[in-house]
Point group: D2
Chain length 364, copies 4
Amino acid sequence: MSTNSLGSRLVLTSFGESHGKCIGAVLDGCPAGLELDENDIQPMLNLRKPGQYAISTQRQEDDLVSIISGVFRGYTTGAPIAMVIWNKDQRSGDYDNLITKMRPGHSDYPASVKYKQFNDFRGGGRFSGRLTATYVLGGSIARKLLQITLRIETNSYTIQIGNIKIKNNPTKNMMNSIYSNEIRCPDQESVDDMITAIKSAKKSGDSVGGIIESITVNLPVGLGSPIFNSLESDLSKALYSIPSVKGVEFGSGFAASNKFGSQNNDEFVIENNKITTTTNNSGGILGGLSIGTPIIVRIAFKPTSSIGKIQNTVDIDKKQNTKLGIKGRHDPCVVPRAPPIVDSLVSLTLADHALQGGFLKPVI
Amino acid sequence: MSTNSLGSRLVLTSFGESHGKCIGAVLDGCPAGLELDENDIQPMLNLRKPGQYAISTQRQEDDLVSIISGVFRGYTTGAPIAMVIWNKDQRSGDYDNLITKMRPGHSDYPASVKYKQFNDFRGGGRFSGRLTATYVLGGSIARKLLQITLRIETNSYTIQIGNIKIKNNPTKNMMNSIYSNEIRCPDQESVDDMITAIKSAKKSGDSVGGIIESITVNLPVGLGSPIFNSLESDLSKALYSIPSVKGVEFGSGFAASNKFGSQNNDEFVIENNKITTTTNNSGGILGGLSIGTPIIVRIAFKPTSSIGKIQNTVDIDKKQNTKLGIKGRHDPCVVPRAPPIVDSLVSLTLADHALQGGFLKPVI
Amino acid sequence: MSTNSLGSRLVLTSFGESHGKCIGAVLDGCPAGLELDENDIQPMLNLRKPGQYAISTQRQEDDLVSIISGVFRGYTTGAPIAMVIWNKDQRSGDYDNLITKMRPGHSDYPASVKYKQFNDFRGGGRFSGRLTATYVLGGSIARKLLQITLRIETNSYTIQIGNIKIKNNPTKNMMNSIYSNEIRCPDQESVDDMITAIKSAKKSGDSVGGIIESITVNLPVGLGSPIFNSLESDLSKALYSIPSVKGVEFGSGFAASNKFGSQNNDEFVIENNKITTTTNNSGGILGGLSIGTPIIVRIAFKPTSSIGKIQNTVDIDKKQNTKLGIKGRHDPCVVPRAPPIVDSLVSLTLADHALQGGFLKPVI
Amino acid sequence: MSTNSLGSRLVLTSFGESHGKCIGAVLDGCPAGLELDENDIQPMLNLRKPGQYAISTQRQEDDLVSIISGVFRGYTTGAPIAMVIWNKDQRSGDYDNLITKMRPGHSDYPASVKYKQFNDFRGGGRFSGRLTATYVLGGSIARKLLQITLRIETNSYTIQIGNIKIKNNPTKNMMNSIYSNEIRCPDQESVDDMITAIKSAKKSGDSVGGIIESITVNLPVGLGSPIFNSLESDLSKALYSIPSVKGVEFGSGFAASNKFGSQNNDEFVIENNKITTTTNNSGGILGGLSIGTPIIVRIAFKPTSSIGKIQNTVDIDKKQNTKLGIKGRHDPCVVPRAPPIVDSLVSLTLADHALQGGFLKPVI
């Protein structure tokens, strides 16, 4: 199994480096017959890219995708879909003094041990958050595929920034206004406080983390598998591919641990001739299988590792302790850029299982 | 990829059903030359099995493992190691009335949709928590392999039962006394309250959940991969194979979301000529790679789904709402049985990555 | 990927050793709803087993299969189907003097280098032709699955023994009489000469090889893939898992190399409103895909490596040249036992592709 | 598993179409530290490309490779190596009248059934022999990797064109002169007859096939696996990815079928303190493992399917029988272009096994 590939039937292979020639991806296994061009991908890429908001890094990356294979006369052919984003704005100079000083919270140290002098350290190289754009390349296609064929809709949004939690629970109606604010928070009442939290951290040369929630509706019953390929297993595996993620929970999640069974069990009921549950503590998954209720997953992001504040660290060349203040253009909080990435990974995983389970066919 | 297999180089394939003839597993990819017999596996199985304590289910399962291939003259040969546990105590009768009434919190409903009338519903069949014993079959071997070759040690223990959290942080010394109490809690001061919480739930026909923490020490630097096969990705995938798990977090985990970068970043320092960190909020993993500090993961378990209390549900045969009180011998809390399962899945994943990364060779 | 597993959606994992406790297999990915018990497997096992004929080895292996998981109330459940054959007739003594003297044509030498002293050399251990019985365990299920769902029929038979080639080309009618003779040759006129060839070799302490042809009819059009997972790629990979196989060809095969394109191309024609070809030099496969005409593959078997004649070899312990005459009960020709093995591997591969291509669903 | 990927540890993913924007490949799993630039790949591509010789098609394809990821400061980093060849000379017009008339010997018919109207039929699209250039992209890297680290050398050459067989057996010295003639035949005495055979076929609007032999020397002992991942299994799977291949045999191959065991067994002998064999009928592989003697494999190519001669076929649109003479620039024989492709697939497979078996490490 390629370590840079995700999925079993719908396989995304990521390639490229933050400051190399390009980043890109190959999506293999997409059924033939999906209408597709760059305009199906570019909008999600745009929602992820930095530099558009006051609270984000000022790097100007165009992040323009080119589809270079797998599409013929406007439709997918069943062949691998290769996509490339050519890198443009590469100020590698900002990173030159980081070569020997290990940045706390980054992969510099283990990568230098694992790959020795061959590691491409420029801007984090292969470990950069920039590579999450390659997830969006495949994810936007998977998302469209699920929408068109099974009417499955995935939406992800911010529910916490630093210690500011969302005030009002998201409703179905709010899903349309996620991108109406810089925070990607469906509750407009919480947005200002969250922006303030980010700005405040930025001002002091610091950063903050947060939590994304993702909700997927209209799932058929029975997607997934018991044992090792449960929906939770494969969704969490995909989501932990995002460099800053340190926690993933489904439904009632960690809170389930201090509930009673009689509280946490979702009772089944027949409504409108359909079987559903009265609550959704399961997050839509039982025994690793979808049950038709919304799949709910929450993802915890650590605060951005790159901060301006002076930190203690080591110089691996001089083999001595030293100090480091990281310059360059870094996001004080990556969470607002994460929703399209989460949407992508959830969609890739569910589309893969839809193909495995026979819910999707090789030709649409 | 087999949906009942875990791993890339060290592959565990699980088979069997809760109330079928047997449960078992095949471990493929274990290096030749590991001294191995049933006594390396049985103790971890015993720690998982039910029926030994007052707070556990009274099912008497012997859970005796037989190694039926892959070992010759007391050592592994490099060939697949097949192992079987023959089922003995099968009171299927207890489950007969559950066929059409969907048990809340269980897989009955999605499994009946996915596999139709062919699903083996007896005792949960393939979805039963009993199948976690097959993880221990492979996991105990992986754990021994890591201990002997790389001195890697994994220990898992209870840190929360219902709303009772551990009072004193676990120390290295406490690791030896995890199994000195029924709760598998290294902090003896917390044990009584936890037992009370379980007994109280049991008395009212209810159940409780909890949290397991797992700590792994002596890792080499550089185990793992960036992008899709990060240590977090593969560990969480493995851990979500446990039916009751609804949350997985590493290091500071969900709490990282409301920390500042300057708080959450672990500063590097040279100690005794070795590079390490002064804190371990990363849980021992940066960029998907091990950094040599302890790998720390916490796993949230929902309360047992099988409860005696009457619950609302549906009868899929009569297509009508109904009520259900589950009889039979069920654990009011599965958490105390989970540590060997968690140890197993962590060990399998780390051994797989040790083989992938060249830390382990095909022959010891 | 497990090195002891075959397939992508329908995965056969083989385990066991020639003279260990058992040999067995796990078949994962078989759709739910296939009626199955041991009687669906045992007949094909019986056709493979040694000891039934004058020209075969006199080892008496019962080769009785037990299905130990994955079947419930007479039908497959979608869960892994584990099967075991317990070894009985193990005269390991016959092999004791072979430990240090490398048998020509056998794996003894490379296996002793690869696995060192840990290799299970008894009767060839993991390298024994006996392990092909584990292919039949999965293959007989795949064959039934294809017959019932898609009416696909695979038949394999002997077309050459030593230098005796089949006199009359096999016809459809002959397919029913393959097993009416010890040679498994559909042309009764060729049988006596083939038997004589084997007996003659046996008499002189020698062995002979031969060729098996396999024909599969009723395939849907479009099974397979271009590039790396072509039908030829996956069929040949499977067939080369048989220890004695040294050549695999499809359709006109090696003879295609000295034909003109105008001779070798199969012209398309409409017959009975269906598109077919007037000849079948392609062996039923174009561009890696089935075209609906019979899939024809021929497999060359080397003569049995174990022979009574004295051979030169080396003693790896004494590090010197030596001589060896192999005792024990060995087939002077393995070809007549091969048809059920070939049927099995062809069926496993085609069923795997039928699942991949959506021709078969997860539930029958 | 991606159907457009080959390998387990060293994974080549192919993408692109014959007449699309580009063809390309991603090689994942290559160890860090291999000195690499386009000049390591281009020469092998040049040896494969058409248009250089009188006997070849006159299409002028530059086939210039660009490495777009995975290399930093002149060395591989351990990250995926993506490579692209931009298509230039696309006379799609030549193919326009082929859309509904199925070309005999080509994939047109099954591809139109499998992918319906979405198939990219231009120049064969994904099924084109042109895609073998993507095998060379990865194969040239694998070949260099094996040469530098293990001194393994693979050479492939023509031994038969149509009915003209090589007159003198290739010797070690001849390996250097394979590319000194258009046929890629190491025996200069056979070249003229082979050229005549091709020219003669071309003149009559026809085509011829042939046989390639590949020899690999300096293998360590023990590369490979028993059962499903034998060297023969994986090599043949790889080689059958070449569209025109219809036969693959190892060592004495099909000829083994009419030899006696005493003839075909290779006797072991100690020479210069090393164990070797006096003959090499095994083709360097026993029990699926390398034994240190040269790996010898022969590959049968059918005659080019595209011929000028009028052929009968069907029009799938009009659903009636018709006739077809194929225009355009086609090779009357693809065999002389095959050696670098065979070298590539053999090298990819052996390098993959070298990584699996611990003969190669993640960092050189």
